[in-house]
């Protein structure tokens, strides 16, 4: 009897609590900006990768130089720099008014300490050519730092802009053995924000860095709530749990889906914006495998697919159509290349000239008894890739090309990129500041889909040599000419089908002002954001 009465009273208590609970407090204009990300920001080690989140590393740490919109490199922690005539010695003159958020001065010794820590684990940064090019680092005086390179590697300044690994931790944040590869003591940087609290699985709290040398953030605090699900994020925004949606739109790591973005955009009482192109969604076409080893087939595919329809109906206009591997906005990429217009007749003519014929009653073309058939490989649970692949399948069927859809889980997909077992395969360029130089550099690595796609080209050796040359070119004109050569060849050889330019999106209420896109994909300038005054 006692047990039963306990249950009854528990029930009563619950029912009462259900009735009298207060609703959520409305999001008044507080001095905290509420934002969300799919995971905690991590320990914020500036020299390490996952689980550190790039956008947060960029809030706390700064670089010597900064990538400005349009690809220009501008002074940042270094107020100026000199480059020796042979292009191998860079001398940086550091700003004198910079302090780390714990009050210690930012000087050449701190810069060298960070460079040395990164070089100690150089193999971790193998993917970045610049690290491999460093020969020596030297403190000239308290605010002058000298960097010597093995070769005149021109993208040095661009790669110094990267969010990781070459940004600066305060000496007080270093572990006792000085090796930051394992861990750091505390995330102390020079940036506009400092990380003050992390609750695992719940949130990370940042505070404005009161000692910041530049324009201090308008908000006192930035709360980054952990919301892994993009629908959950949309709900959190609608209910005022967060004030701002900022980041890539679309799939996987996207902040919200593009359909949700369009719903917000059509509501009329919200401010939404789409950034300039950040990177390119692209399909690599294998020049080394039958039947796409035939240039006519590759060109026919590019003319045969109705890209405008894909952009309109699948990307819902949120991502603009891409016609070249890199957006013309990227440095050295405004080449005026003629795009492959959607022209099924021209595509059919190309195939016919190349000897592809339709046997009586056959659905697909053949040549020498072999059917014109290829695989499009995508990540099985990526609905966007799947839909694009299906549209391409439909468009190419009309030309008599058989397309098999190969949707697999992520690891198998990546293994195909690496091994070259694909007819066409999805990929993204890396975006600013990596495009075009780092992306081109990686085309020389057999582990990349680009290498595998290009390896069948008769001039592949020549392309690789020119990429090697452009990276150590000193003369601006030579560099532009080499890029023109490389990118024009790749375009004319039709080894890429660019789809769309990936963009960042923002959604917020009109009372929030100063929301601007950063120069690269993971730089979110929260410091300019403020409430309407």
């Amino acid at each position: 009897m006692k047990k039963a009465s306990f249950c009854f009273s528990a029930a009563a208590m619950l029912i009462i609590s259900l009735i009298v609970l207060p609703g959520p407090a409305s999001a008044a204009q507080s001095d905290t900006l509420n934002y969300s990300w799919s995971a905690n920001v991590g320990p914020l080690n500036p020299h390490a990768y996952s689980p550190n989140q790039m956008f947060a590393q960029a809030m706390v740490y700064e670089s010597l130089v900064r990538y400005a919109k349009g690809g220009e490199v501008v002074p940042w922690l270094a107020e100026s720099w000199d480059i020796s005539e042979d292009g191998r010695v860079y001398t940086f003159h550091l700003r004198k008014d910079v302090r780390f958020s714990d009050g210690t001065p930012f000087d050449a010794a701190a810069v060298k300490m960070n460079f040395d820590a990164v070089l100690k684990n150089a193999h971790r940064h193998d993917w970045l050519e610049f690290i491999a090019q460093i020969k020596q680092t030297r403190v000239v005086d308290s605010h002058t730092f000298e960097l010597s390179l093995k070769n005149a590697y021109y993208p040095t300044l661009q790669e110094l802009c990267l969010i990781r690994p070459m940004r600066f931790l305060a000496p007080s944040g270093f572990p006792d053995d000085g090796d930051t590869a394992q861990s750091i003591k505390a995330p102390v940087g020079t940036g506009p924000w400092k990380l003050v609290e992390t609750r695992k699985g719940e949130y990370d709290l940042f505070e404005s860095n009161g000692l910041y040398w530049g324009t201090k953030p308008a908000f006192k605090r930035l709360m980054v709530k952990v919301i892994p699900d993009s629908d959950g994020r949309a709900i959190a925004f609608e209910t005022g749990e967060i004030d701002l949606i900022f980041g890539s739109g679309g799939h996987g790591s996207g902040q919200i889906g593009i359909d949700t973005f369009n719903r917000f955009a059509s509501m009329g009482n919200l401010e939404t914006a789409i950034s300039h192109p950040q990177a390119t969604r692209v399909l690599a076409i294998n020049s080394n495998l039958f039947p796409t080893n035939d240039r006519a087939v590759r060109r026919a595919i590019l003319h045969g697919v109705n890209k405008a329809a894909i952009v309109k109906h699948l990307f819902l206009g949120v991502e603009p159509q891409a016609d070249t591997l890199f957006s013309p906005d990227m440095p050295y990429c405004d080449l005026g290349l003629a795009r492959f217009e959607h022209d099924p007749q021209k595509a059919a003519a190309l195939l016919e000239t190349a000897g592809w014929k339709r046997e009586k009653g056959a659905e697909f073309l053949t040549r020498d008894g072999r059917e014109l058939a290829l695989d499009i490989c995508f990540v099985g649970n990526d609905t966007l890739q799947k839909s694009v692949a299906e549209v391409i399948q439909g468009d190419l069927r009309r030309l008599g090309i058989k397309v098999r859809l190969v949707g697999e889980e992520m690891d198998s997909f990546l293994t195909r990129q690496k091994s070259g077992e694909f007819g066409m395969i999805f990929g993204d360029t890396w975006g600013a500041p990596y495009d075009p130089h780092s992306f081109c550099s990686s085309m020389r690595q057999p582990a990349h889909a680009d290498y595998q796609a290009q390896i069948g080209l008769p001039m592949k050796k020549d392309i690789d040599r020119k990429i090697g040359e452009v990276l150590i070119s000193v003369d601006e004109q030579t560099r532009q000419d080499l890029y023109r050569d490389i990118l024009t060849t790749l375009h004319e050889q039709a080894v890429y089908m660019p789809l769309s330019y990936m963009t960042n999106i923002t959604v917020h209420r009109p009372q929030l002002r100063g929301v601007e896109f950063g120069p690269t994909k993971y730089e979110f300038p929260f410091e300019t954001i403020h409430w309407e005054r």
């Binding site: 009897m1 047990k3 039963a4 249950c7 009854f8 528990a10 029930a11 619950l14 029912i15 609590s17 259900l18 609970l21 207060p22 609703g23 959520p24 409305s26 995971a39 991590g42 990768y49 996952s50 689980p51 971790r124 193998d126 993917w127 695992k200 699985g201 719940e202 709530k225 952990v226 919301i227 892994p228 699900d229 629908d231 959950g232 709900i235 959190a236 609608e238 209910t239 749990e241 697999e408 889980e409 992520m410 690891d411 198998s412 990546l414 293994t415 690496k418 990686s442 690595q445 057999p446 582990a447 990349h448």
Partner: protein, 314 residues
């Protein structure tokens, strides 16, 4: 009784061993390369050299039985390896998130009882009248409604339209209501019907007739005799519900951004974080087995007719 408990606990050992072998094999025999996942999650380009180093680092270059023996050797010292994503010891991570899930599951269980007990009793007492029909409708709806769907409906109604409850995150009791309801609805529905059925059975039992003959007031007959006897099968059902609740937590935690072990496991699956998945499954197996043991013991304590070891008559 003590002997029985020890025996049951000992059975847990071979059971966990078998589960661990199955889990280990299923993960390894599936498509995909853990070394590849490891590199992807560390943002290191997967060159052949990098893959080779990663395979050695993770011990993936060894024969499968050797790999398993190594893992087991460490697991018995409670070292379940490190997460590929965070690089932190897996057990610590899971134990960090587990209390949050227990809190949510416990609240759901409480909610299940708080709703199903009064409803079950009420519908039994008013058999074939309006309350009974209404409860039946509720039970049908409850069993048929998928938890994730209900979760989104609740959010739409109580957070977006009415603004009464916070849509996500962990905080006070108000944060727990929607996830707990979406997890518990099915158990509530089943339990309500179970209690109603038991009550009706017991009402026609002989001892109830005798109680009435003795002139006991109806309140005592129903409250003391019928109800208490009807609750015993409910205890068994609760053992089952705990499993359902943990399963439901995986979904509810993802929808409501509840920082629990279920959401953590889901992200581990997406990331192919094998060490986390292995440890998670073993811990869930242990909890499930221990919970059922607890139910069995409670059963014996509540009903003296039941003996756990041989010798008693039922």
């Amino acid at each position: 009784m003590l002997r029985y408990i020890i025996k049951r606990l000992l059975i847990l050992v071979p059971m966990l061993l078998a589960v661990s072998i199955v889990v280990f094999l299923i993960l390894r025999l599936g498509q995909g390369d853990p070394a590849m996942s490891y590199l992807r999650l560390s943002n290191i380009p997967p060159t052949d050299a990098a893959l080779e180093v990663a395979r050695q680092e993770l011990g993936l270059d060894l024969l499968l039985p050797v790999q398993y023996a190594r893992w087991l050797g460490k697991a018995v010292t409670l070292d379940f390896g490190r997460s590929y994503v965070t690089g932190l010891p897996v057990l610590g991570e899971i134990l960090f998130y587990l209390p949050n899930t227990l809190k949510l599951a416990g609240f759901s269980l409480l909610l299940t009882l708080a709703v199903s007990l009064p409803l079950g009793i009420w519908s039994a007492l008013k058999k074939d009248r309006l309350p009974d029909h209404a409860t039946r409708a509720f039970a049908f709806a409850g069993v048929s409604m998928p938890g994730f769907w209900l979760g989104f409906i609740l959010v739409w109604l109580f957070s977006i339209q009415l603004g009464w409850l916070p849509p996500l995150g962990m905080g006070g009791l108000d944060h727990m209501i929607m996830p707990a309801v979406s997890m518990a609805l099915m158990s509530m529905a089943i339990n309500t019907r179970l209690i109603r059925g038991n009550m009706l059975d017991n009402m026609h039992a002989r001892y109830v007739l005798y109680a009435r003959v003795r002139g006991l007031p109806e309140r005592v007959v129903v409250g003391r005799h019928v109800l208490v006897n009807s609750l015993i099968p409910v205890i068994t059902a609760i053992g089952m519900h705990v499993g359902e609740l943990f399963g439901g937590a995986v979904v509810a935690e993802s929808i409501f951004s509840w920082p629990g072990v279920g959401r953590y496991a889901v992200s581990a699956i997406y990331n192919r974080d094998y060490p986390v998945m292995q440890c998670f499954i073993l811990i869930m197996t242990s909890i499930f087995v221990l919970m059922n043991l607890g139910v069995d013991i409670l059963y014996a304590w509540l009903d003296p007719r039941i003996r756990l070891e041989g010798g008693g008559d039922r």
